[in-house]
C-alpha cells in the first residue's frame, strides 16, 4: 500500500511542461467546466485505486462528500495491491473500472486505445499541472492525483551531530558529509533499500537536476548518457561512490523498506534518496520512534548550476477514464471533484496537481535554499515513444531497479568490473538500442 504509493512516485520520470519558479498563485479558475449539471449526472462508477490502506476510510469519506454534490452517482472502489501488474493484465479486457490510475507501462501511443481523452493539453494546462505526462498528439488522458518533488531525505539531527550544518552542493561535499557521519556518529550514512528494489528507482527521479526541462528529450537523443558530465553519470557516480567508499549499509541484500522508515526516523540511518511523497511517512516514523517529525529534512541533489539547485517535480499516478466506460460523464465528474475538492494531494504532502493549488507544507526546507522547481517538457511530436522504446530495447530499466542494483553490486565488489567499465557497457547498450529504434 505504502509501497504502491512509492512505486507511483517512481514514475516521476515522465515528462511535462513549464519551468515553475516557486510556483504560485497563477490565475485561472479552479473550477474546470463539468460535462453537465450535477443533478443530471447519475449512475454507478467503479474507481480503481492503489491505496489499499485508506480505501475504506479516507476514500469512503471522499465518496460521501462527492455524493453531496452528485447525489445520483454511486461510487464503488476497488483497491489493488499490485496495482501495476494486475491492472495492465486486466486492460486486455474491457473491464478495468470506469476511473483508473493510468499504469506507467502504457506507452503514449497506446493511450487513445485505452483511455478517453479529457481535452486538449492546452485547455487542461490552464487548470492542471503535469497534464503533458499522459498525453498523445495534443490530447491529455489523465489528471495527476498528486505531485512529487525529487530530492534526498535525511535525518537533520544525525547530520548536525556529525557536524555537517551546510547542505552539500557538490558530489565531493556530499561524500565528505557522509564520511563525517560515518566517523562521528553510530548511524549508517546512507541506506540503499537495495533488497526491495523499487526504492532504487528513486534515483532516476533526480534527473533534470541541472534545471533543463528538456532533460528527457536530451536523453533520448544522446548516445552516451553515462559519459562524464552527463546527468546520468553524475547521478549514478554518486550512488557508486557512496557504496564503493563503504558509506552504505553493510549487507544490502537484507534491507527492508518498512524497517528503513524506523531506521531513519530514529536516526540509525542518516540519508536516503526518496521522492517528496516519503516525507510524511518518515515524519510519522520519527514520531512513532519517539523523536520529532522536525528531524526529517529534505535537500536537493548535490549539484548547482550558477549557484542554484533544482528539484524536478512531476505527477504521481494520473486518473484517466476507461474508453469502454458506460458512464463517462460521472467518471469525469469524479476526476474533477477528486482533483479540485478532495484535498488528497495536500493531505499527502504532495505538490498540488492544480495550477493554483495550495503549496505543500512538506517542502519547507527548500525555501531557504532557494531551490527551483523544474517540470519536464513533453517529447516533440513524432518522438512520443522514443525514450520508452530505447529503454525497452536496451533493457536498461531507468525507472526500475535492475541496472542500479548491478551498479551497487559492482561498487561493493560483488560483481565484476568497475564504474568505468559498467558505464561504458551502459553507453554501448544505449547507443545500440538508439540505432535499432531509429
Amino acid at each position: 500500500m505504502k509501497k504502491s504509493t512509492a512505486r507511483a512516485a517512481g514514475a516521476l520520470s515522465a515528462a511535462t511542461l513549464m519551468l515553475l519558479g516557486a510556483c504560485g498563485t497563477g490565475g485561472g479558475s479552479g473550477d474546470a467546466e463539468t460535462s453537465g449539471e450535477p443533478e443530471e449526472i447519475s449512475g454507478s462508477i467503479t474507481v480503481l485505486t492503489q491505496r489499499t490502506d485508506i480505501v475504506d476510510t479516507v476514500f469512503a469519506d471522499y465518496a460521501d462528500r462527492f455524493n453531496e454534490v452528485y447525489p445520483d452517482v454511486e461510487v464503488n472502489f476497488e483497491a489493488i495491491t499490485d496495482y501495476e501488474g494486475e491492472v495492465t493484465i486486466r486492460m486486455n479486457t474491457e473491464d478495468y473500472g470506469d476511473v483508473l490510475l493510468i499504469p506507467n507501462t502504457v506507452a503514449r501511443d497506446q493511450l487513445p486505445l485505452f483511455f478517453e481523452p479529457l481535452g486538449t493539453v492546452d485547455e487542461l494546462s490552464a487548470d492542471y499541472r503535469f497534464v503533458q505526462e499522459q498525453s498523445f498528439e495534443g490530447n491529455g488522458y489523465g489528471i495527476a492525483i498528486t505531485g512529487n518533488a525529487s530530492g534526498i531525505l535525511y535525518n537533520k539531527r544525525v547530520w548536525a551531530e556529525a557536524g555537517v550544518t551546510e547542505v552539500p552542493t557538490s558530489h565531493e561535499e556530499f561524500i565528505a558529509a557522509l564520511h563525517a557521519i560515518a566517523d562521528n556518529t553510530d548511524a549508517i550514512p546512507y541506506y540503499t533499500n537495495y533488497a526491495d528494489g523499487w526504492p532504487m528507482s528513486q534515483w532516476e527521479s533526480l534527473h533534470a537536476f541541472t534545471g533543463d526541462p528538456d532533460a528527457d528529450n536530451v536523453l533520448a537523443r544522446t548516445d552516451a548518457p553515462w559519459a562524464e558530465g552527463e546527468e546520468h553519470y553524475q547521478i549514478d557516480s554518486l550512488l557508486y561512490d557512496i557504496v564503493a567508499e563503504g558509506l552504505s549499509e553493510p549487507d544490502p541484500l537484507t534491507t527492508n523498506w518498512e524497517e528503513s522508515k524506523t531506521l531513519i526516523g530514529s536516526g540509525q540511518v542518516a540519508t536516503m534518496v526518496l521522492g517528496s511523497w516519503a516525507i510524511v511517512q518518515m515524519q510519522q516514523a520519527a514520531e512513532d520512534a519517539g523523536f520529532s517529525a522536525d528531524d526529517i529534512g529534505y535537500m536537493p541533489f548535490p549539484s548547482q548550476v550558477d549557484g542554484v539547485s533544482y528539484s524536478t517535480i512531476g505527477g504521481d499516478y494520473k486518473q484517466g477514464i476507461n474508453v469502454h466506460s458506460d458512464n463517462i460523464p460521472a467518471a469525469r465528474a469524479w476526476i474533477e471533484w477528486f482533483t479540485n475538492e478532495s484535498g488528497y494531494a495536500f493531505d499527502e504532502g504532495g505538490v498540488s496537481p492544480m495550477v493554483d493549488g495550495p503549496e505543500p507544507t512538506t517542502l519547507g526546507d527548500f525555501e531557504p535554499l532557494g531551490v527551483q522547481y523544474v517540470e519536464l517538457n513533453p517529447p516533440p511530436a513524432g518522438e512520443e515513444t522514443l525514450l520508452s522504446d530505447i529503454r525497452t530495447t536496451s533493457e536498461i530499466d531507468l525507472g526500475g531497479n535492475v541496472y542500479r542494483q548491478r551498479l551497487v553490486d559492482i561498487a561493493r565488489g560483488a560483481a565484476d568490473g568497475d564504474m568505468a567499465s559498467y558505464f561504458e557497457e551502459l553507453n554501448t547498450r544505449w547507443a545500440d538500442a538508439r540505432a535499432q529504434v531509429g
Binding site: G85, T88, I89, M91, N92, T105, V106, A107, Q110, L113, Y194, A195, G197, P250, D251, P252, L253, T254, N256, T392, E395, D397, G400, N401, V402, Q405, D409, R412, A414, A415
Partner: protein
C-alpha cells in the same frame, strides 16, 4: 513461467488421468455395447476435458502464440514476427548463463535427496519418538513459500539468527554476509530450498519404504543381514522407481527455480535464475513475446533433460522376490 510450471506440473497428472480413462473405457465399453450407449463415457468426460483444455492447453497454446509476436503485454494488436524471438534467445548467450545458477540447486537437490533417504530409512525402523521426528522433518514443506522467504531473510541478516547462533557456539569466524557475498548467496538460497523441500522427498521415500513387506526384513535378519545390507539390498532396490521420479522432479525443479530466490533477493547479486530472468523480461522490460519464447525454450529444455534421464535410468519393474 506459471504456464510452464502448470504445463509440466499437470503433465504427470494428465498421464494419470489418461491411464484411468483407458481402464475405465475398457470396463464401460463392455457395458456400453450391451446398452448401446457408446457416447456415455464421453458425456462424463465432457467436464474434465473442457476444464483440461481451458486451463492447460489454451494457456499453453497462447504462450506459443505470444512467443512468435513482439507483444508488450498490453497492445491490442499482436505483431507476428516469426521466429525472431527464438533467434534472439539463441544469439544472446548471456540469457543462458543463468543456468549456471541452477547447478547450485542441482547439487543441493542431491544433498536433499541423500538426507531425505537417510531420515526415511532411519525412521522406517522403530525409532524412539519417530512420529515426532516425522512431523518435524515434514513441517517445513507445509509452510508457505513467501513466509519462508521472509523468515530466512531475517535468518541471514548480518547479526541475524544464524550469526547469533554461530557466535553462541564459538564459530563466529564463519559468519559472513550470507546473501550479500556473491560467492555465498546461491549456497544460502539453495540451502533454504533444501530445508523447504527435503520433507516432501522424505515423505515420498518413507511411504515407499513402508510398502516393502516386513517379512523381507525378518528373513534377511535370519540370514545375518545388518541395517546397511537391508538398505542396500532391500530398501534401495524396492524404492528405485520413487528415487528416479524424485530425481527427475529435482532436476527439472532446479532448472526452473523461482520462488525462494525471487522473494529473498529478487534475483539480485547474481542469484537470477532462468525463470526470474523471464519474469524480468516480461514485466520489467515489457517484452512478453520474448519472455514467452523463453518459457517455451525452458519447457523444451526440461522435456529433453527428463527424456535423457529416462533413457539413462530405465524404468524397470521392481522385483524383490
Amino acid at each position: 513461467m506459471a504456464q510452464v510450471t502448470s504445463a509440466t506440473g499437470t503433465g504427470s497428472l494428465r498421464r494419470a488421468t489418461a491411464r484411468t480413462a483407458v481402464t475405465r473405457r475398457g470396463r464401460r465399453g463392455r457395458q456400453g455395447r450391451a446398452n448401446g450407449w457408446r457416447i456415455t463415457p464421453w458425456l462424463f468426460l465432457l467436464t474434465p476435458l473442457a476444464l483440461l483444455a481451458t486451463f492447460t492447453y489454451v494457456p499453453v497454446g497462447n504462450m506459443f502464440l505470444y512467443s512468435v509476436t513482439s507483444w508488450d503485454g498490453l497492445d491490442p494488436a499482436l505483431e507476428f514476427i516469426g521466429l525472431a524471438n527464438y533467434v534472439e534467445i539463441f544469439t544472446r548467450p548471456e540469457l543462458f548463463r543463468v543456468f549456471y545458477v541452477s547447478l547450485y540447486y542441482v547439487a543441493a537437490s542431491v544433498v536433499q535427496m541423500a538426507l531425505a533417504l537417510y531420515f526415511a530409512t532411519i525412521l522406517s525402523f522403530s525409532t524412539r519418538f519417530r512420529n515426532v521426528f516425522k512431523g518435524i522433518l515434514f513441517f517445513p514443506y507445509l509452510v508457505n513459500g513467501v513466509a519462508i522467504g521472509f523468515v530466512f531473510l531475517y535468518f541471514f541478516q548480518p547479526d541475524g539468527t544464524l550469526d547469533t547462533v554461530l557466535h553462541a557456539v564459538g564459530l563466529g569466524d564463519l559468519s559472513r554476509h550470507w546473501l550479500g557475498d556473491p560467492d555465498m548467496v546461491n549456497i544460502s538460497l539453495a540451502g533454504t530450498s533444501v530445508w523447504r523441500f527435503m520433507g516432501l522427498n522424505f515423505v515420498l521415500f518413507l511411504g515407499a519404504i513402508q510398502s516393502i513387506p516386513g517379512e523381507l526384513y525378518e528373513a534377511s535378519e535370519l540370514d545375518g543381514a545388518n541395517r546397511w545390507h537391508q538398505f542396500r539390498y532391500i530398501i534401495a532396490p524396492g524404492i528405485k522407481r520413487i528415487i528416479s521420479l524424485s530425481f527427475i522432479l529435482a532436476i527439472s525443479g532446479s532448472l526452473s527455480v523461482f520462488e525462494i530466490p525471487f522473494i529473498m533477493t529478487g534475483g539480485a547479486n547474481g542469484s537470477t535464475t532462468f525463470v526470474i530472468q523471464t519474469v524480468e523480461m516480461a514485466f520489467t522490460h515489457r517484452k512478453v513475446g520474448l519472455a514467452s519464447a523463453m518459457a517455451v525454450v525452458l519447457l523444451l529444455i526440461v522435456l529433453i533433460v527428463t527424456w535423457i534421464q529416462r533413457r539413462l535410468i530405465p524404468d524397470d519393474e521392481v522385483n524383490l522376490t
